[in-house]
Amino acid sequence: MSLISATAKPEGCKLLRIRAEISDPPGPSSLILAITINGDFFAIPEEAFEKIEAGLEGCSIANSGTRFDQTAATLGVSLAGINGQGLREALLKGLADKMAGRENGQ
């Protein structure tokens, strides 16, 4: 298990801060074991967002964007300032930082 983290402001998103535990070896096909997504974004109803985070567990980083959007749609969560593509981009940034030996890249 590896830990990745990143702070990113992908296109169309507010500031995102992600922390994730991923399966080894670290790479785009690594599975997300646990994830916390913090930031300036909006999700309504707010309480449902933790279910979206939980829904990412077991999903690969590569497929995280699609899973994020699908889960939000299934749960009827309205999002502003965050989307699946942006989340995937932030995770890939965290992964790249991990591979390069940087931590908590901002």
């Binding site: 702070t7 801060r17 916390t36 913090n38 930031g39 909006f42 109803p45 967002f49 309205s78």
Partner: protein
């Protein structure tokens, strides 16, 4: 026909009570016990409010806040951390069935922010809406706004900056490690403005709050009935303030 709203001018309160009263108003408007409501208020002592999805440890220098006597509270709305100091804060609650309510979140921001834009216009400030949730003057942010929806009620609160104390603000907020504080202050001053910076005058809380009231009335065709929070709302506000907003469980939940 104009829309009947209640106007609450509740003056200055601490962060926990401010968020408690906002929540109590949301509840009472949602249940139909209160008219749609515009509340105007301020913060004493100064405080930082965190967005619902932010982490206190990631965003705030908690020891600096303690040193400065600045309270920290988590909002029920998303968005970013706000240093509440020299500003007018408003909150507005309307049922989702109200003619001013839009099912679209971006559209409802646009509609409700017209009240602020009109209020600023009355002060001689030409402001415009900047999606998702900001109001800008000459490209610089003067007002940030945050919205939620609960129990079929739209609730939005936001700030209108009277002045900006970037030095204090960035002694309280965590800054990216690669940026110097000086560079960050320079950055923020190039992106944020205030009523005093734009007008060159210190207009004060009452003047700006009065303009906001008129701006909402004019832009959204609202007929305000000046009122007070009900006994139930006050009781509920206290319960929220002490039981939720001042609790570590709520503040540090992410």
């Amino acid at each position: 026909m104009s829309h009947s709203f209640r106007l609450l001018e509740t003056g200055y309160s601490n962060a926990f009570y401010n968020m408690g009263l906002d929540s109590a108003i949301l509840d009472s408007v949602a249940s139909g016990e209160s008219l749609p409501t515009l509340r105007l208020y301020g913060w004493k002592p100064s405080a930082i409010s965190l967005g619902y999805f932010q982490s206190a440890e990631e965003e705030i220098d908690l020891s600096a806040c303690r040193e400065h006597g600045v309270d920290v509270v988590r909002r029920i709305t998303g968005g970013g951390a706000v240093f509440h100091d020299a500003e007018v804060t408003y909150s507005i609650g309307i049922p989702e069935s109200h003619p001013l309510a839009s099912p679209s979140i971006p559209e409802s921001y646009r509609i409700l922010c017209q009240g602020i834009i009109e209020g600023l216009a009355l002060l001689g400030i030409g402001a415009e809406f900047a999606p998702i949730n900001d109001i800008i003057v000459y490209g610089k942010k003067i007002s940030g706004n945050a919205q939620t929806r609960r129990n079929h009620c739209i609730f939005q609160h936001g700030t209108i900056l009277l002045s900006v104390d970037a030095e204090t603000m960035f002694s309280l907020l965590r800054v990216p490690k690669e940026k110097s504080r000086g560079k960050l202050i320079q950055d923020i001053m190039s992106r944020v403005t205030s009523v005093s910076a734009v007008t060159g005058r210190d207009l004060g809380f009452e003047t700006v709050a009065g303009a906001l009231k008129s701006g909402f009335a004019s832009a959204l065709d609202i007929d305000f009935r000046t009122g007070q929070a009900s006994a139930d709302e006050l009781k509920q506000a206290d319960a929220y303030a002490f039981g939720k907003f001042s609790s570590k469980e709520w503040t540090f939940r992410r």
